[in-house]
Subunit: 312 residues, 3 copies
């Protein structure tokens, strides 16, 4: 099956077959990262621009390493040094970048929809590395890859996602991806952090008590409390949040005995997740990071339209 | 003809033959940027340091992409992270960088003459990527390349340059380059922004009314109003500036019907150029950016003294 | 002899044989940096992450160039853009980076012991690029390489080190390295800047008058006064410091006639070293920088465990 998308703007436009192909491709790339020589010539002579208009270390690092291991030339732009500060429009910035003939622009931007806006206006491929509170597709795909590795399938799984549902681009992409692949999603968070009506998305149920959400779950995904992204008034206190919505060894026993624990990072230990759980036997958090490089290699490869994974 | 310059410090030291050779070389490199595999081994094993002591996105990006497409190793320094803040002199910083055996240092610096100062003191090649209000040679060369592409020649063309003539390194380099190639330059700007006596450079005329300058012009080049580079007192207001010195569809009709419109970017839409013109059929603004990569490939190649463009 | 260290955390854990092997390896790499094509395939397909959680230009640049000339893929993280600011622990940051399968993490960190802490917790190699006031092993090794080049040996040399002994990671690494190789170390600095009891390290003597320390010395190493690293109260004034602890042509005559003058940079000209000396015939300061690239190539190569320097 051929991949028919030029851009990766989000999970929403992807079919179950698309997701399947991405995950299968990522599986085949993953082995490269454990080789002695972690490099294949797949994207040699391609130019990838990592345009991070919002601060990020791990996502930028993951995309940059993915590009380099595929032998692409990678170039970084960060918001602080960008022309954006000189009053140029985002479209002009993007069209200027595009005029330098990159093959792919990986973009993180604080405004929801920025990658879509650009995809309509430039000729190269756009990969969304996180746009506002909208989508973060590569994160959801690495989450699915990790779940599939541990559970063998996604179909019929009970996946609990706990935290600030309203402001999380991670959860939005995960809802699309998980439900499309046949998993059941349970959301839990304080009332101020769950958007009303979200259960209408299908295969999604909402709980306000963390314990109800993780009861018999196969997967428990804890979200980061993003102090920087919300007004303080949504949370009475971090201690109270940790008490009611933090994952600890006690409430984790409610999930299935072989449930896995996930977190997109960076973790606030002692807030949304206790160190006992973060470092415990059920955590797959570093597998997520590891799979992130493989998923991003797959995305860069698939949107590039390069014919085959020759010479690997 | 062989290129006899070790450094590119400005346009002033270049002869018409030098400029011709750079433009011809850039023409031959341009095609590489539209290939499927945008990479040639020309500068393999060469180290290029992009030392940007003044913020820049597009020029740094353009030089970095140019270097990588020639297979050079490129390394970046930016002002904010530099030892400059630790009280080291520019000469010491440069000599330290030089001791790491780079082949080329591409430098942008806020002080006019910084690249020349270094060229006298280090052994490697220096390429000026903009020094204070002095010169910005790669910008002028990409402008000439773009004009030549659209007009077939530079000789005898009427080129109007409008804006803050006094503080612009772009205009200074363009005056040298255009007059050397036989074009006639017309400058226009508010009285506070045009240095007295500039017409003595030869083939340069000064106008204070934009309409007089662009009358029957072949090329209209609008300069960016650089809020960050001048005291506010030079301009009564941006609205008034736009009214008298902004290019719009109406005053553009004064130029020749096939006149091209240029801007070095980043644009202040609605100030020095209206969006109708910036996006209109006569604009070649993104061609300028595209040609920038080719011109910088040519400059890096020519100063490197590598014998031939073998294996391309 | 095979190198038996997976990490370079400091000089303290290294034997004289280890140091000898590193210096010999660096000698053999040095020649590559003067070649026309400065690149060998030794570390092709290896990923090196330069994690500089403390500002640095020259050390990062030197490690990045060293990695690229060995054909490794290099990726940079700097403190300001790091997740550290989001409240993640250093260990979590490091384990996340490690999950992306780098081969080597080069780390600079403001806290003494940070590289050791990580080496105990991650699987890849750690190279310390400076930790707090603790160690800066690659600096000491490039110093030894430079001394050996000029003096033929290290054994029996009299090496004077002058400045802020207490807060300098450079001097700590140099004391370990020099005494291990049989040199005698003389330390001099204001009473507030020399830790009591340091002479107990063996082969180390302490002076409070610079002139006593450099009398008949083979090597005079001046330390940078680090305004940013100490409270102002340690120094009455820079002028007074320069007068009593600055190296100038007059007091330099006390050293042996063929003594060499060293400085780790960046220099405060007119404070710890006069320009006459810094630029004088006895200075080897830029040789130090040059050798820095070779030493770092040697360290990256040796910790990587790659079998041989094939194909060079």
């Amino acid at each position: 099956m051929a991949f028919r998308h030029k851009h990766i703007l989000g999970i929403e436009p992807l079919s179950a077959e698309d997701i399947q192909l991405i995950l299968d491709t990522a599986d085949s790339f993953k082995e490269i990262n454990s080789r002695d020589i972690k490099k294949v010539p797949t994207l040699r002579g391609k130019t990838i621009i990592n345009a991070f208009f919002e601060a990020s270390t791990r996502t930028r690092l993951s995309f940059e390493i993915a590009g380099k291991r595929l032998s692409a030339d990678t170039v970084n732009i960060s918001g602080s040094t960008s022309s954006v500060v000189k009053g140029e429009t985002l479209e002009d910035t993007a069209r200027n970048i595009e005029a330098m003939s990159p093959d792919i622009i990986v973009i993180r931007h604080g405004h929801s929809g920025a990658p879509h806006y650009l995809a309509d206006r430039v000729g190269c491929s756009i990969v969304n590395a996180g746009d506002g509170a909208h989508e973060h597709p590569s994160q959801a795909l690495l989450d699915l890859m990790t779940i599939r590795e541990h559970k063998g399938t996604l179909k019929g799984l009970e996946v609990a996602i706990v935290g600030d549902i309203t402001h999380s681009r991670v959860v939005r992409s995960n809802i699309y991806a998980l439900t499309r692949m046949g998993a059941n999603v349970r959301l839990a968070g304080p009332g101020t952090m769950v958007p009303p009506g979200i259960e209408r998305l299908g295969n999604v149920s909402v709980f306000h008590d963390l314990r109800d959400a993780i009861q018999d779950a196969d997967v428990v995904m804890m979200l980061r409390i993003q102090m920087e992204r919300q007004s303080k008034t949504l949370l009475p206190s971090l201690r109270e949040y940790a008490r009611f919505y933090g994952l600890n060894p006690l409430n984790l026993t409610l999930a299935k005995p072989d449930a896995i624990v996930m977190h997109p990072g960076p973790m606030n230990r002692g807030v949304e997740i206790s160190s006992y759980v973060a470092d415990g036997p059920q955590n797959v958090i570093l597998n997520q990071v590891e799979n992130g490089v493989a998923v991003r290699m797959a995305l860069l490869y698939l949107v590039s339209g390069v014919d085959s994974m020759q010479d690997q």
